[in-house]
């Protein structure tokens, strides 16, 4: 066990995390050059493009150190967005140490701070690493000072490297071995294994990523998931080399995988504890939380013919994405679709992009909503996350909405801007303190509904990228919630309804009307667009009738080109949804969804 090091790399986007990981993999002779493909750890397209990692990835590297001993280095790559901060914290808790990677030219950027704080919360040993020292603009000295002063990390522990040229990577590997503590744990104790991720393999079912905290596990064992008492028989255990490498057993301190006939990833829960059925541990590992979907939206195929494809695409995504939930939904305007639950807006966007890109389905999404609690006059309570189920207002006693506690780390100078952003979003109970000179940890209680749209983007913009943001759900509080309906020529378009605070109803209604006016092409009659709360119109606009659409000239030489234009017009029409007699393009639905920006 003393020859194992479990660690993770924390970095602001583009500071070189993936490149460094690749370099370490090469250094440890894991891949031949032929197999080598840049950025081995980022596999999905979307992740590569956006530089986000959605799932954890783990690789186990054999490293022979200068002391002649061969160590096992487990590099756990974590997702890097606030939507996934619970997943990050579980992945971090499987490690003893972390490399905090900082670009020598860019310096400390605070987007990574949230993860640094998570690492500190998990008591990880941290090695600050200044990367890209090969760059002419590199200022390692200045960055080192800021690491010491701004982050309060020990200057002695700082390492320099260039992930690109490989310079310093050997010293870094040495530092991992010498500075990071080996895992603790007792192989003879009852089994305690922390689930920190799970991936779907079409041939083997779910491959569960675990950190063995105590005890040992091998094929044939009867195991138990402590959160739900589900029992399985272990089929295989092993290590994450470039491919999975079966082992006789995994013992305390190791990071590896368990395959145990678990059908889908959703049957596992990150943070859950695995133990033996026969000899269970006394209590689960701390920190477990059920995954909570906080954002809900309905997804409809533009073409109703694609419904079956959408259903099977969601099934496929779900195999590997336990956080995604969906159930059948239907709309008068859009036909059949699915009500889906997400961890946050980024998660929603990732799912949407994958559906459109990997499965080729064009979609319409409804306005994302949080889950509200409706207390009715008959003394019942209903949880509602879909405007379609908004109860008759006469039956409502009161409504509550979820609140979060936001934790925001910022350099002191952004305090004013962040404070007013929070006030704009109905923030309350603000609080702050200085974890270190010049830095503020700001907390604020906010309605979740106010942060799911563009809060994080706005925060990044008002802090010029220096604001880190993390949140946890705290409680439900009374809300003056209304349902905003959109009517097109007097007909309510159910897919455009949204649940919002009364305070924002008029403004949001106006924006929705304007977006629709911009995006709905003129038709052969006048179109009235209205936004209404209850029966009251809060905003309205009109799209005048189209009077003229005719091509002046068409002779022999133009026939093909003009025909193609008409065909394009025809194809555009097919991508529209007809509500009453009005044709509404997909863009129009999306524009309402985005009307906050």
């Amino acid at each position: 066990m003393k020859n194992i090091r479990n660690f993770s790399i924390i970095a602001h986007i583009d500071h070189g995390k993936s490149t460094l990981a690749d370099r370490m993999i090469q250094r440890c002779d894991m891949v031949t050059d032929r197999e080598f493909k840049d950025q081995l750890l980022d596999s999905m397209d979307i992740e590569r493009e956006r530089g986000i990692t959605i799932k954890s990835q783990t690789i186990c590297l054999p490293y022979t150190a200068r002391d002649g001993v061969t160590y096992t280095l487990n590099l756990v790559d974590t997702p890097g967005h606030v939507d996934f901060s619970y997943e990050v914290s579980r992945a971090l808790s499987s490690c003893e140490g972390a490399l905090l990677l900082i670009d020598a030219a860019q310096g400390v950027e605070a987007q990574t701070l949230a993860n640094l704080y998570l690492a500190m919360e998990n008591d990880l040993e941290i090695i600050p690493v200044i990367n890209k020292i090969d760059l002419p603009a590199a200022e390692p000295e200045k960055v080192a000072r800021s690491i010491e002063e701004d982050l309060g990390l020990d200057r002695e522990s700082i390492r320099l490297c260039s992930a690109k040229t490989g310079e310093g990577v050997d010293e870094l590997l040495e530092a991992i071995v010498t500075l990071l503590p080996p895992p603790e744990g007792d192989p003879e104790q009852p089994l305690e294994a922390l689930i920190f991720d799970a991936n779907y393999d079409p041939y083997r079912g779910t491959v569960i990523s675990v950190r063995i905290v105590n005890g040992r596990v091998r094929a044939g064992d009867q195991i138990l998931f402590m959160s739900n008492n589900a029992a399985y028989r272990v089929e295989e255990v092993g290590l994450f080399r470039l491919n999975r490498e079966p082992q006789k057993e995994l013992t305390a301190g190791q990071v590896g995988y368990i395959i145990a006939g678990v059908k889908t990833v959703s049957d596992t829960r990150p943070g859950d504890t695995i133990t033996h059925q026969q000899r269970p541990c006394p209590a689960p590992l701390p920190g477990f939380r059920e995954v909570q979907q906080v954002v809900f939206s309905s997804i409809y195929p533009i073409s109703t013919d694609d419904y079956e494809d959408l259903a099977s695409a969601l099934e496929k995504l779900k195999l590997n994405d336990a956080a995604l939930t969906f159930q059948k939904d239907s709309s008068a305007a859009l036909g059949f679709g699915f009500r889906c639950g997400f961890l946050g807006l980024l998660h929603l966007e990732v799912v949407q992009e994958r559906l459109e890109r990997e499965f080729g389905i064009s979609l319409i999404l409804t306005v994302p909503t949080v889950k509200y609690r409706f207390y009715l006059r008959d003394n019942t309570m209903q949880e509602i996350d879909n405007p379609a189920y908004f109860p008759d207002p006469a039956t409502i006693e009161r409504i509550e909405e979820p609140f979060i506690k936001a934790t925001i780390h910022i350099p002191e100078r952004y305090m004013g801007a962040v404070m007013s952003l929070c006030m704009e979003r109905r923030g309350e109970n603000t609080n702050y303190h200085y974890p270190m000179p010049g830095r503020i940890e700001f907390t604020c209680e906010l309605p979740l509904a106010e942060v799911i749209y563009d809060f994080y983007d706005r925060l990044k913009s008002v802090t010029q990228g220096y604001g880190s943001f993390d949140y946890e759900l705290i409680d439900y509080r009374p809300s003056d919630l209304v349902k905003l309906d959109i009517l097109v020529n007097g007909e309510q378009v159910d897919a455009l309804s949204q649940l919002i605070h009364r305070m924002h109803a008029r403004e949001r209604g106006l924006k929705a009307c304007e977006s629709l006016k911009r995006e709905i092409p003129r038709q052969m009659f006048k179109i009235a667009i209205q936004a209404a709360v209850g029966g009251n119109i809060v905003a309205r606009t009109n799209i005048s009738a189209l009077r003229k659409d005719v091509t002046a000239k068409c002779y022999g030489g133009d026939i093909s080109r003009k025909r193609k234009l008409l065909e394009k017009q025809k194809a555009g029409k097919k991508r529209m949804k007809t509500v009453g007699n009005v044709e509404i393009p997909q863009r129009a639905f999306l524009s309402v969804l985005k009307s906050d920006q």
Binding site: R547, K548, V550, T551, A552, G557, I559, K573
Partner: protein, 387 residues
């Protein structure tokens, strides 16, 4: 595809002369300004292409029913050059002895009386004059290099030269134009007693200077209501002068409808000669490379001139024929369509067609499917459902 067809139908012969004095800022036709140096090489190339086309079994055997020299500005060429080209066409392609409609497009101020005499004597019997406007201020704004007086003089000269079939092109919806200026232009044009009138709404064609300026908000264009009023006024005055509307933008004294163009709207067959010209024969549509120099080079080297070939399925051709036919006021003959394609419009389009009929955008009159008065200004909307 080989041998004569069971129903030959008309065959148009079009000759493209892509040279202009200056490029008009709204025009997206293929034409070159200020490159008359290329003319003689182009004439050689045209002759080669004509020989080549005439030798094809499926063109050579058919009688040509109309001839049209268009551009560009054909009248930039010397009358003798145009006469030579026409003589060549008549020699190479079978043209009935009685003569056929033979049109030449001219722009005011590019031809004088003598030139028109020569053209008439060479065998052109129809002249189409690109007047566009009779308001000098507007002509300047749309980049035309002639004046209203030039236009009037050209019309008179053409009449004197013996052109009994004379057409004028006018444009409306121009920047800075209002209903009153349009009325004056129409009245002055009608006072010249044309046999044919084309009234074109300005179209902002992608990639033209006008389209760019309009996008940048630099063109003060009349609004939709005003353009509709111009459209209505054009029709009212033209019909008052005995020119009936037979196509979306075209009016004629009875018997003077342009047969060459009607053949396009009937989706008939035609041979196109020249750079960028399109030929449509036996269900194939071929486009010659739209570049004078490449056109000349390829013909000189004995290479094919086509840059595009399109061959539609019978159903697509059927639909295209319906859409094109709807440009004509009398519409498409349903029985004729069925005889030609073996397809019945009502069953092919099903409920879509019924709806358009119900909405009053289309009507069936005397066995012909046509756009209604309500449907005409929205023609593209209707066509987009039928294409």
């Amino acid at each position: 595809m080989n041998g004569p067809r069971s129903r030959p139908g008309p065959l148009g012969l079009y000759l493209h002369l892509p040279f202009c004095r200056a490029k008009c800022p709204y025009c997206d036709f293929y034409s070159l300004a200020g490159r008359t140096d290329l003319v003689s090489a182009y004439l050689d190339a045209l002759a080669r292409q004509a020989h080549h086309m005439a030798e094809l079994p499926w063109t050579g055997s058919r009688q040509v029913s109309t001839i049209f020299f268009g551009g560009g500005t054909p009248s930039i060429l010397a009358p003798a050059e145009l006469a030579g080209l026409l003589a060549l066409c008549r020699r190479l392609f079978p043209v009935p002895a009685a003569g056929v409609e033979t049109t030449v497009e001219v722009n005011p101020a590019t031809v004088e009386r003598r030139a028109l005499d020569l053209l008439r004597r060479a065998g052109f019997n129809r002249v189409s004059i690109g007047v566009q406007s009779l308001d000098d201020r507007l002509l300047g704004r749309i980049g035309r290099v002639h004046t209203a007086a030039d236009a009037v003089r050209t019309v008179r000269s053409a009449r004197q030269a013996g052109f009994a079939n004379l057409g004028l092109d006018l444009m409306y919806g121009l920047p800075g134009q209002d209903l009153a200026t349009w009325r004056r232009t129409l009245e002055q044009a009608l006072a010249l007693v044309p046999d044919h009138l084309s009234l074109y709404e300005l179209t902002l064609e992608e990639g033209t200077p006008f389209a760019r300026r309009a996008a940048a908000g630099e063109l003060l264009l009349p609004d939709e209501e005003e353009v509709l009023a111009m459209m209505a006024l054009g029709r009212e005055l033209a019909e008052g002068a005995g020119l009936h509307r037979y196509e979306i933008s075209n009016y004629a004294r009875p018997g003077h409808e342009c047969r060459h163009n009607i053949n396009y709207w009937q989706n008939g067959s035609y041979i196109g000669l020249g750079a960028g010209a399109v030929s449509c024969l036996s269900g194939r549509r071929l486009t010659a490379v739209a570049d004078v120099e490449a056109f000349c080079r390829r013909l000189a080297a004995g290479e094919p001139v086509w840059s595009d070939e399109e061959r539609l399925t019978p159903a697509a051709r059927f639909r295209e024929t319906v859409v094109m036919g709807l440009r004509m006021i009398r519409g498409v003959d349903l029985a004729g369509l069925e005889a030609r394609f073996g397809m019945d419009a009502r069953s092919h389009y099903g409920p879509t067609l019924e709806r358009l009929l119900d909405q009053g955008l289309l009507a069936v009159r005397d066995g012909r499917l046509c756009l209604t008065g309500q449907g005409l200004p929205l023609a593209n909307r209707v066509m987009a459902e039928l294409v």
